[in-house]
């Protein structure tokens, strides 16, 4: 990246010998890492915690039976109820809604995409694509399903007319990097009718290769690829502000630095093609990385609009523009926090509401659904949220392979 060159020049010129020593130490450390690289999620781990058992948590491969779902553990606010929308959707990740009411669900450790169809009051889960490689990112636009696998983007046109026998996806953008760490993608369509996706960094903390650590946009035909934002570790959720039309996205911060910092971030792009969010130099907008931050200041970078908790794994987010949950939720952001693994006492495991000021800056955050963590263990892990046409809100859970539905309990409060 360009900044690396600038930083070395600045180090040598302004800090002189001390800078050179730091640079030499960094180079030595990097050489050492090159000789004996730890797994990506362990990079940057201090020696003293080498025997810690804080490893990533693999989701069970089989969905939980409907009667074993942790519904009694999940709590929402007074005046709302939570129920099971559909069980048996393995590794349910991203949620998307079709124009004709079909709910599309992606997966990350499976090879399939699913459609949930409601017919005569019954819900049915259909497999609409299989043999895909980590198809986490999906988006719908004018009847076409767009699919972001680890290293390519494809589409299926008129998907809702062909749910029983959908054609194979057609690739529109291929040859993306094949790195597995942070290689899975999130996908959204912008107000400009272009696809937005990210190439995450292939490590926990490192100087990323040229193509990594960025949000890109590309035409619906796969042409005109360009960088939209820089300096991003991994994007895990994106949506567009309903009136400002700016891109908001969640970003998970580096691991193994400490229990309490850095926190995950909520970011906003206000200068397309220019905003740099600081990775790997600056974390959470407030402090420089102990290895890569030397010679930098957080003032060089675009600050997050909110901090979402250390290691909390803030993932899917959506602005709610309906009115079924009540007027106080109009234009409020719902955000799912998958929950931490790199922390002794787990944090997250909930769905929060985030309220913004008129200018799009952060005002407040409060819990909306809690209870996914019980006795420091997961009974479920929320991934994405989806406002429905009837005003309810769906929530996906990749740990149980389920989708939940939250709605108002009584008509008396529905019109409030």
């Amino acid at each position: 990246m360009q900044r690396a060159g600038i930083s070395v020049a600045r180090l040598a010129a302004s800090i002189g010998l001390v800078g050179l020593l730091v640079a030499a130490a960094t180079a030595r450390l990097q050489a050492q890492q090159a000789a004996e690289p730890p797994p990506p999620w362990k990079q940057g781990q201090a020696a003293g915690i080498a025997d810690s058992n804080l490893a990533p948590i693999a989701p069970p491969p089989l969905p939980t039976a409907p009667d074993k779902l942790p519904l009694d553990k999940l709590k929402t606010k007074p005046g709302f109820k939570i129920e099971v929308y559909t069980a048996g959707v393995p590794n349910a990740r991203t949620l998307r809604l079709g124009d004709k009411g079909t709910v599309f669900v992606s997966s990350r450790v499976q090879d399939k995409l699913y459609a949930i169809v409601t017919k005569d009051g019954k819900r049915e889960v259909k497999v609409i694509a299989s043999g895909l490689h980590r198809p986490n990112g999906i988006a719908l636009h004018k009847g076409t399903l767009y699919i972001a696998e680890l290293y390519q983007i494809s589409k299926i046109e008129k998907i809702e007319d062909n749910l029983d026998n959908p054609p194979k996806p057609t690739v529109i953008l291929g040859d993306l990097p094949k790195d597995e760490p942070h290689g899975w993608k999130y996908l959204t369509v912008g107000p400009d009718e272009k696809l937005y996706f990210q190439i995450g960094v292939p490590c926990n903390i490192c100087m990323p290769p040229e193509r990594h650590g960025k949000i890109y946009r590309v035409g619906l035909d796969g042409k005109g690829l360009e960088v939209y934002a820089y300096g991003i570790r991994q994007v895990v959720g994106m949506d567009w502000h309903p009136t400002l039309k700016q891109l908001y996205f969640s970003e998970n911060s580096r691991d193994w630095l400490s229990e309490d910092v850095p926190e995950d971030k909520l970011n906003r792009v206000t200068q397309p093609g220019k905003d740099n969010f600081g990775y790997p130099y600056c974390h959470q907008g407030t402090f420089t990385d102990p290895e890569f931050g030397w010679g930098h200041s957080c003032s060089e970078f675009t600050k997050p609009i909110a901090l979402l908790g250390p290691h909390s794994a803030a993932l899917g987010l959506k602005f709610y523009t309906g009115n079924g949950l009540g007027n106080e939720y109009r234009n409020v952001m719902f955000l799912a926090r998958h929950g931490s693994w790199n922390r002794s006492v787990k944090i997250g495991g909930d769905v929060v509401t985030i309220r913004l000021n008129g200018d799009g800056t952060f005002r407040s955050m409060e819990p909306f659904i809690t209870g996914f963590i019980q006795n420091n263990n997961y009974v479920g892990r929320p991934v994405d949220v989806l406002p429905m046409k009837d005003g309810s809100l769906l929530v996906s859970d990749d740990y149980n392979g389920a989708v939940y539905r939250v709605s108002r309990t009584g008509a008396s409060v529905a019109g409030k």
Binding site: E36, P38, K42, D51, A58, L62, D111, E180, G183
Partner: protein
């Protein structure tokens, strides 16, 4: 070998003991395999076995014998088999002569590549992480090479990433050390 391992769904209606018996013809009924590149299953954590059986059923992990063996299995079948397999006793470490210098090298590599953090300091595994202590050396070598070559994609990306930079000489020493752990 294929014939020996061939499975019939005739055992469908039998008890779990009857149904799981064909597994032992390749993997060994005491948790220890005597077949080249066929893994010992003893004391493998149930969640790990469940993931592998699932990957075989879904053909996310491809091996004709195993894909055929679990074809048509229900989710409950997979769970029952995983639990039954996990109760086998751990395989004893290989009885072959041990070279102390190579053991020391292997032990250092286990820490260098941090195998011990997920597989536990005694390499007995836990939850979705397999037991590699006492595993067949040839199977360990084969598996690590497959991860490194992206032939075995794995459930999540962890092992493919871990193996990318590990040279083949280190793979051999890691397998040597691990196969000789109780």
């Amino acid at each position: 070998m294929i014939l020996l391992c061939a499975w019939t769904l005739r055992a469908w209606a039998g008890s779990i003991d009857e149904r799981v018996a064909p597994c032992w013809s390749c993997h060994g009924d005491k948790g220890q395999s005597y077949n080249l590149e066929v893994p010992s299953l003893g004391a493998q954590p149930s969640p790990y076995v469940l993931i592998q059986l699932y990957l075989f059923r879904e053909k996310l992990r491809r091996l004709d014998v195993m894909n055929g063996a679990v074809k048509g299995f229900t989710d409950d079948d997979l769970r029952t088999f995983a639990d039954t397999i996990s109760r086998l006793p751990p395989p004893p470490p290989t009885a072959e002569a041990t070279d102390p210098a190579r053991m020391a090298r292997g032990q250092a590599l286990v820490r260098q590549y941090r195998c011990n953090v997920c597989h536990n300091p005694d390499l007995a595994g836990r939850e979705s992480v397999p037991r590699i202590a006492g595993q067949r050396e040839d199977f360990l070598v084969k598996t690590m090479r497959e991860y490194k070559a992206n032939i075995r994609p794995g459930y999540d990306a962890s092992m493919g990433d871990v193996l990318q930079p590990i040279p083949d000489a280190d793979i051999l020493d890691l397998a040597y050390f691990s196969a000789r752990q109780p």
